[in-house]
Amino acid sequence: MTEEKKPEERKKRRTATEAAASIGPMVKAMITDVQKAREEGKPIAFTFIACAYDEIIRAMDIVPSWVENYAGICGAKRDAQRFLERAESLNFSRSLCTYALCGLGFDSWREELGEMPPDAPWGGQVKPTVMLGSGQILCDPRNKWFQAAQHYMPDVPVYDVSLPYPAYADDYDFHETEGYYVKHIVEQLRGLIDFLEEQTGHKMDWARLEELVDLVDRTYDLIVDTYDLRRAIPTPMGTGDAMNTMVPIQFMMATQQAYDFFTNLNAELKDKIARKEGVIEDEKYRLIWGGGLPSWFALGDFNYFNSKGAVFPVETTYRTLESTRDFDIDLKKIKDPLEHIAWRWVKTWTYWYDKARKRPGSHPDVERLIQYIEDFKIDGIVMHEAFSCRSWHVGLIWQLNHLKKIYRDMPSLILESDIIDISSYNEADTRARIDAFIDTLEAVKDR
C-alpha cells in the first residue's frame, strides 16, 4: 500500500450566514466526541443519515458515528483518494458508492495498522461497537456496506433496518395500506432496540425516548419554518450554506443542539431579511438545486454561481423532512413513541403523494419541484449527477423531462462529477457549463 501524501487543506468557502460558518467546528467536535467515547468505552454505532431511529440511539445513550459524514469530510478536505484507492486494491469496484469505498478503505486500513491511518482527517473514524444498516428502499450500499465492513471488523455485529413506505401510483390511494407499513416499521424498530440492548447492555429509557420524539417533531417544524424564510427576495441563504446546515438535520437530530442551531439560524435569517441583506447584492437569477448530492470538494462552485448573479433559495437535497403540522394526521395523538416515529416516517415520504394525484400526470418528486419553483420564484434548475450514486441520481433526467411535460420548460443544467471522487471533476469544464447556463437564463429572461 502506498503512503500517499496528505493534500493541503483548501481555503474555507465563503458562507452567507454565520450559522453555516459555525458548522465546521461543530462537525469536528462531533468526530472528536466519538473518539472520546471510544476511549471511555461507550458504545458507538456506525449509522446513516435519514435513518429515522435517531431518537432511539440517543435515548439509549449510544454514540452515533455517521459514516457518510466522515467520507464527506475526507472528500471536502480533498483527502479521499488514498482511501478510495485502498478499497479498490481490495477488489471493490470503483463504480460503487464512493462514500462506501472511502469508509471501507479507511476502516480496513485502520484495522490492518491497529491504529488510525497516517494523518487521518480530524483524527479518524474509530472502530464501532455495532453497525446499523439502513437501506430505506432507497440505497443498496446502506444495506451492503456494513456487511462488507465485517470482513475487516468480524467482531462488530450488524443489524439491518430497512424502513419501507408505500409506493406512489396515481390510480391507487396509499392511505389504504399505510397502516400496514407503520406496523412493519414498529416491529423493525422493536427488533433494533432488542439488538442494541443485547449488544451494548444499555437499556431503553422510554421516558427519554418520548421526550426526544417530541423534540424531533418540533425540530422538523422549526427547520421548515426557517428554510421557508429563504423565499425572501433577496434570499438571505443559499444552497451552498444549506450543504453546511444539513449537518444538524442529518447528524444531530434528536438533540437540543440541533434545535438551538435552527433557532439561531431562524433569528439570523429574519435579521438579514429585515435589513434586506441577501446572499449577493444584485440577485439576478433564482435557482433550485433540484436533485443530486453535492461534490463535497467543490462547494466553491456555489460561490461561482453567486459571482454570476445566481442564488439558490431552495434545494431538494438533504431536505428529508416536512412540517409535522402539515401532515394529514395529528401526530401528537400518537402516544406510543415507536408508532409515532413510524407514522412520521411514512407521512414524510408520502407527503407529496396527494398533491401529485391532483395534477394529471404528475409525480411526487416533480410535484415537489413545481411547488418549490412557485414558492421560491425560481428561474432555473441545477442538478448534479454523481456517477457513483446511482440510486439517488437515476431519475433526475426523467424528472426534468416530466416537469417540462406537465408544467413548463425551464432552463436546466446537469453537472457531472461525484460526491467525493475528485478524479471525476474538472473545474474549468464545470465553470464553462455554468457560464453557458447563465447565458441561457439571460436569454430566456429576455424572451
Partner: protein, 264 residues
C-alpha cells in the same frame, strides 16, 4: 477601419477570426498542443498576417473555449455555448438547433431568433461522445483523420459495434480488423455509434428545424450523413465548421465596439 478578433482555444484545435464592418476578413486554425497561451499567440498571428494587420490594430478581442483564460491579449472571455449560438445564427439565421462536435465534447443547443442559446446539453465525460473517438480510431486503422469521412461513405456492409465505450470500441475495432472487416465498414459502424449518442442528446433537448452541425467533427461527411440518417433530416453545414465558436466570439467583440460607441 475598426478590427475585432475572436479566439476559440479548443481542446484539440485553436481558431482565430478577424472581423471588420461585421464581415470576416481572415481566420486561421491550428492544433492546440499543450501550451494554450503560446498557441493563442500563434493562431492570432497567423490570422493577422492573412488580414495584413497587426495586433495593435485590433480594438477588441473575445476569447472562448477550453483555454479561453490562457489568452493573454483578450479583452474578455465568453461562454462557448453562447459563442456557438451567435456563430450559428450569423451563418444560418433560420437555425434553431445546432450540434457542435468538438474534440472533447459534443454540444447540442437550442437558439432563438436573436442568436441566443436558450438550452443546451453536453455529452457525458466519455470519448465516444466527441471527436476524440474518431482520432483514436484513425490511429488504430492507420488512416488520416481527414480521410475517415470519405472512406466511411464507401461502406457497403456496415459493422455494428457492441459497445458505447471508446476504449472497448478500440479493441473491438482491432478484433474486426483481424476478422478481415473492411476499414470503411468499421468506420461506418463507428460513425453510427457516435451518431446514436448525438441522437440521444437531441432527443433529450428536442430538435427544432433548422438544425446546423458545426465543429471539427462536422468536417467528417461520413459522420454527418450518419447523423442525418438517424435524425431523419438534412443538417445545415458551413463551409468551415471549425471556426463557428470563434466567429461567435468575434461577433460578441463586434457588438461591444459598435454598441459601446467608442470606435464607430
Amino acid at each position: 477601419m475598426i478590427y475585432v478578433a475572436g479566439i476559440d482555444i479548443g481542446s484539440a484545435f485553436s481558431k482565430a477570426v478577424i472581423m471588420a464592418k461585421n464581415e470576416i476578413i481572415a481566420y486561421d486554425v491550428m492544433p492546440s498542443g499543450g501550451n494554450y497561451k503560446l498557441t493563442a499567440e500563434q493562431v492570432i498571428e497567423e490570422a493577422l498576417t492573412k488580414a495584413e494587420i497587426s495586433l495593435k490594430d485590433i480594438a477588441y478581442t473575445v476569447a472562448t473555449g477550453y483555454g479561453a483564460t490562457s489568452v493573454s491579449f483578450s479583452s474578455e472571455t465568453a461562454a462557448d455555448i453562447s459563442c456557438l449560438a451567435r456563430g450559428v445564427h450569423y451563418l444560418f439565421p433560420a437555425a434553431r438547433t445546432a450540434i457542435d462536435i468538438g474534440g472533447q465534447f459534443t454540444r447540442v443547443l437550442k437558439l432563438n431568433d436573436r442568436g441566443k442559446a436558450t438550452a443546451f446539453l453536453l455529452s457525458e465525460k466519455c470519448a465516444t461522445g466527441s471527436g476524440r473517438f474518431l482520432q483514436v480510431i484513425a490511429r488504430v486503422l492507420q488512416i488520416d483523420l481527414e480521410d475517415i469521412g470519405g472512406l466511411s461513405l464507401k461502406s457497403k456492409n456496415r459493422v455494428d459495434f457492441n459497445t458505447g465505450c471508446a476504449v472497448f470500441a478500440e479493441s473491438e475495432a482491432v478484433s474486426r480488423i483481424a476478422e478481415g472487416a473492411a476499414k470503411e465498414d468499421i468506420l461506418a459502424g463507428l460513425h453510427r455509434t457516435l451518431a446514436a449518442k448525438i441522437q440521444t442528446m437531441m432527443a433529450r433537448l428536442g430538435i427544432e428545424p433548422d438544425c446546423a452541425v458545426v465543429g471539427g467533427g462536422a468536417k467528417d461527411m461520413g459522420l454527418v450523413k450518419s447523423i442525418e440518417e438517424g435524425l431523419g433530416c438534412r443538417l445545415l453545414l458551413p463551409d468551415e465548421p471549425r471556426i463557428v465558436a470563434a466567429l461567435g466570439a468575434v461577433l460578441v467583440a463586434w457588438e461591444k465596439v459598435s454598441k459601446g460607441g467608442r470606435y464607430v
